[in-house]
């Protein structure tokens, strides 16, 4: 007999730890082609949290990942534009997951990644007053679409392998 509440809290914590670690590890590698371009592999765990646990838990995981990840990788200022971007893209993903039927996790991940790039760079340009950086956005969108596909496929494979009995409503 599993204590449901305890299980949810524990799983949220585990997913938050994995998301933070992936985020920090990714930061150690140089960006892909353009400055600031990352695979965003930590989004695997955020998307998993939305599907397995729900929107509230996923927001918790997102905030923990961004706060701790930025703090430990020495880029505190990234919090300013990562949190709004993360929340907006997560909001879009939640809407697609909960309200659109017959849709794959890959397309949700791709769309979320594109929205994330647009919002993150928009906020970055506003905060840092570097309007010139806007020219990178379309190119970053292409990179994020590809990485979104990889993230989405990873989530798809994980969901297929997870045991069903732990994630039933009753």
């Amino acid at each position: 007999m599993i204590n449901k509440k305890l299980f949810r809290i524990s799983l949220t914590a585990i997913l938050a730890v994995f998301a933070t670690l992936t985020f920090m590890l990714e930061n150690l590698f140089p960006p892909i082609i353009l400055p600031g371009a990352r695979m965003g592999l930590s989004n695997v765990f955020i998307l998993l949290t939305v599907i397995l646990l729900g929107p509230v838990e996923s927001v918790c995981v997102l905030i923990i990942k961004t706060l701790l990840g930025s703090l430990f990788s020495g880029n505190v200022s990234a919090i300013m534009y990562s949190i709004p971007a993360g929340l907006v893209s997560l909001g879009v993903e939640i809407i697609l997951i909960y309200f659109i039927k017959r849709i794959s996790v890959l397309s949700i991940s791709v769309f979320g990644a594109i929205i994330n790039v647009i919002v993150q760079n928009g906020v970055f340009c506003l905060v840092t007053k570097t309007v010139e950086y806007l020219v990178f956005i379309p190119y970053l969108c292409i990179i994020s679409a590809v990485s979104g596909l990889i993230v989405g496929y990873a989530v798809y494979l994980i969901i297929k392998k997870l045991p069903k009995k732990y994630f039933n409503d009753n």
């Binding site: 200022s77 849709i103 794959s104 890959l106 791709v110 969901i159 997870l162 994630f167 409503d169």
Partner: protein
């Protein structure tokens, strides 16, 4: 509810019919961005680059006049010159952080060579600045951008 969501995605395939709409929307957004930002930020007549720290002008790198350091930053900037290449190092207020910027007079370009800003060091991976663009180091709030030619000889009839 979450169990139903889990089931929905467990049964789903990598491609579903409604994905077409999502992918079309994604392509539309990217194309719209490309079109709207086409030709944005192209400066052909620049006279050099400027380095600002926390939105305050710190260093100017002129193609013809060389490097000038602004008064408040004299203690925080070092300049080294050799073979048409300036090595400008800008230190943070506590002098623990730095960005080493190279300014090449041969191809009129500037880039960040070294920095201890963060693990990812995005500023170091920015492409060389030549006629347009910006290099930004978020942790050190350091920005390198182009400056327009203020001393351009006016063309007859130009207003």
């Amino acid at each position: 509810m979450k169990g139903k969501i889990f089931d929905k995605f467990r049964k789903s395939k990598p491609f579903e019919l409604r994905d077409i709409a999502i992918y079309c929307a994604s392509i539309f957004i990217i194309v719209a961005l490309f079109i709207s930002l086409l030709g944005f930020n192209k400066n052909s007549d620049i006279s050099g680059f400027k380095i600002t720290v926390k939105n305050e002008l710190a260093v100017i790198l002129y193609f013809e006049k060389g490097v000038t350091i602004e008064e408040p930053f004299i203690d925080f900037v070092t300049v080294y010159y050799e073979d048409n290449l300036y090595t400008v190092t800008v230190y943070t207020e506590d002098k623990n952080g730095f960005n080493q910027i190279l300014f090449d007079l041969n191809d009129k370009s500037v880039w960040v060579n070294k920095s201890n800003c963060s693990d990812s060091k995005d500023c170091v991976h920015f492409p060389k600045l030549t006629d347009s663009g910006t290099i930004y180091c978020a942790p050190h709030k350091l920005k390198i951008s182009t400056i327009k030619d203020q001393y351009k000889t006016p063309i007859v009839g130009e207003i």
